[in-house]
């Protein structure tokens, strides 16, 4: 409990810093943000209205405090482009992003864990060499290029999967899955590489532990030793890495969503940047970074739950 309270308390300055930085990013746009939003030839009356609306004539610290007060009350302002509340737009975009993130996570685990275990049990053999090489290539592959290659393969050369768009699960589950396949594979492959390396390293360490030797000596079949005894213990560091990666995924979705026109928070951010819709940019960056911090916190806590030694130490 004390550990959880401590971690939550440490979060306060970081979240405040996130707010300051998100605000500062918008405030540092060169020139007048109103001109940036409305263009050089805007009507002076419209400029005056917008300046008053965003309190742009106030000193910067006061503007920050006013904005921060709004944020604390769950108000991220309204989109300049659509007039809709920013929070509502972000909420709508988060659903497809979370779908994509979970699907990518599933893809990465299905590839990485068996590959990592096989590589560790056949250490220095051809299977290990191949898995390690593929993982290293996966780490060096820019995900948007993999996305483009998949589109060329599965949407153009062999037109079996759609190259863009999103279908709601409730509307048509089969079409929803077909639309999800390529983006999830793109994002999942990048995660799989790191997870596979971690699974392999953790398994190699665990397989030489005393309790594994005991299990073998007791006559537990080799398969049981590897998949039941060793993997269970090797998963600990893997859980941490997966958690951290899920956080990083919040960044990775920006590019993948743009390649596949996936209407998530990443695409929302990029589109808003081009439309100079700064309240949306600011809100989306703040929400994504907050999610990133929270996912990292949950990962830390989950690790403590899984590993009783850490709980005792805390």
């Amino acid at each position: 409990m004390r550990m959880i309270a401590g971690r939550l308390l440490a979060l306060v300055p970081v979240l405040f810093g996130l707010c300051v930085l998100s605000f500062a990013l918008l405030a540092s746009v060169p020139g007048d943000p109103v001109t940036a939003m409305l263009g050089l030839e805007a009507d002076p009356a419209a400029i005056a209205t917008l300046r008053a609306k965003y309190a742009l004539d106030e000193p910067l610290p006061l503007r920050f405090l006013a904005w921060f007060w709004q944020v604390l009350h769950g108000d991220l302002g309204r989109s300049i482009q659509t007039g809709r509340p920013v929070l509502e737009m972000i909420g709508a975009a988060l659903v497809p992003t979370l779908q994509l993130a979970l699907a990518a996570l599933l893809v990465s685990l299905v590839i990485a864990i068996p590959a990592g275990v096989v590589a560790a049990t056949r250490r220095n053999g051809p299977a290990d060499f191949a898995a390690t090489l593929v993982a290293l290539c996966g780490l060096s592959l820019p995900s948007f290029w993999l996305g483009i290659l998949l589109i060329m393969g599965f949407s153009i050369a062999l037109p079996v999967l759609p190259s863009s768009g999103h279908v709601a699960f409730l509307a048509d589950p089969w079409e929803a899955l077909r639309h999800l396949a390529l983006p999830a594979l793109t994002l999942g492959a990048a995660m799989a590489a790191a997870t596979m390396r971690m699974t392999r390293a953790a398994m190699i360490e665990i397989l030489s532990a005393d309790f594994i030797r005991t299990a073998r000596a007791k006559g537990v079949p080799a398969r049981g030793v590897v998949w039941r005894h060793a993997l269970r213990n090797a998963l600990m560091p893997v859980v941490t890495l997966v958690g951290l990666q899920l956080g990083q995924l919040m960044g990775g979705v920006v590019v993948t969503e743009s390649v596949f026109s996936w209407p998530g928070i990443g695409k929302l951010t990029v589109d808003a940047i081009f439309a100079r819709d700064f309240p949306v940019v600011q809100g989306a960056i703040l929400v994504t970074a907050t999610l990133f911090v929270l996912i990292n916190l949950v990962t830390d806590l989950l690790y403590a739950v899984l590993d009783p030694r850490l709980r005792k130490r805390a």
Binding site: P13, Q248, G252
Partner: protein
């Protein structure tokens, strides 16, 4: 490890490791291409040939041409210059500033440490690409701003490594001896701490080169990094999206260039880390 091997220079030890040697080769090719591009008998990267638009690879254009008839090979070599420049400049800037912040925070401790490292924590609280995106959105898309954005992303990573080193070194006898002799903190940092903290910081910096090149390609791909007509691998892929069915080579080659260069830096980074890690 034998005494002879330990004394051999780093590059020679790297060449003995097949993975690191491959990394060195790939990075070397990228550097060579970037440096020698202007000397090669190729059309300029921005020179259009309207009689040869979307020409497939072969003949006068070994890697084909784009929709304006510009030579893909020439543009990839020019893109290498941009990618390497952004990578080295952004990591270099982060190395100088992040190294200084981390060493000061770790060595001085107290409130300096708390303030500086909380600031770094805030930067680390953003997913890297998102922070870079926010910065380029605020500053405007250009080559210089791309370097600044990626440098800010790299800053906290290097500051943390430098701080860790300074913390470990400040309790050692030879550092405390300098304090006893009455040298000021900056002198001690410069003369005793920096030289001994440098190698782990440099290893981390070499690892960051790969991620910086990828981040640059992401930003340019999204249209927020290096701006046309200056070719970069990312903005070449952005242009290629519209021609995937007619001219797939426009997407193959720039992507392959990013992949091989980043693979090279990753292999080299792994090799350097293995060689410099005394536990290895």
């Amino acid at each position: 490890m034998s005494a002879v091997m330990t004394r051999a220079p780093l590059w020679r030890r790297l060449l003995r490791d097949p993975r690191a040697a491959l990394g060195l080769l790939l990075v070397g090719l990228a550097v060579l291409g970037a440096v020698l591009a202007p000397l090669l008998p190729l059309p300029g990267p921005e020179t259009p040939d309207f009689l040869a638009t979307l020409a497939p690879p072969g003949g006068a254009y070994p890697l084909g041409t784009d929709d304006l008839g510009r030579d893909t090979l020439s543009r990839i070599l020019a893109g290498a210059r941009v990618s390497l420049l952004v990578g080295v400049a952004s990591v270099g800037a982060a190395l100088l500033l992040g190294g200084a912040i981390g060493l000061l925070a770790g060595f001085l401790g107290g409130w300096v440490d708390v303030v500086l490292m909380r600031l770094m924590d805030v930067l680390l609280a953003f997913p890297g690409i998102l922070l870079a995106l926010g910065i380029t959105a605020a500053l405007g898309a250009s080559l210089t701003n791309t370097v600044i954005a990626i440098a800010v992303v790299n800053l906290p990573v290097l500051a943390r490594v430098a701080r860790g080193q300074a913390l470990a070194l400040r309790g050692l006898d030879y550092v405390r001896a300098q304090q006893a002799l009455g040298f000021g903190p900056l002198t001690i940092l410069w003369r005793a701490v920096l030289p001994n903290a440098l190698s782990p910081i440099l290893v981390q910096a070499s690892v960051l080169l790969a991620s910086s090149i990828i981040t640059e390609s992401y930003l340019s791909f999204l249209g927020l990094g290096v701006q046309p007509p200056t070719p970069s691998w990312g903005n070449m892929l952005r242009d290629a999206i519209g021609f995937l069915d007619q001219a797939p080579w426009l997407a193959w080659f720039p992507g392959l260039a990013i992949f091989l260069t980043v693979l090279g830096f990753n292999l080299l980074g792994d090799g350097v880390r293995d060689r410099l890690d005394p536990r290895d």
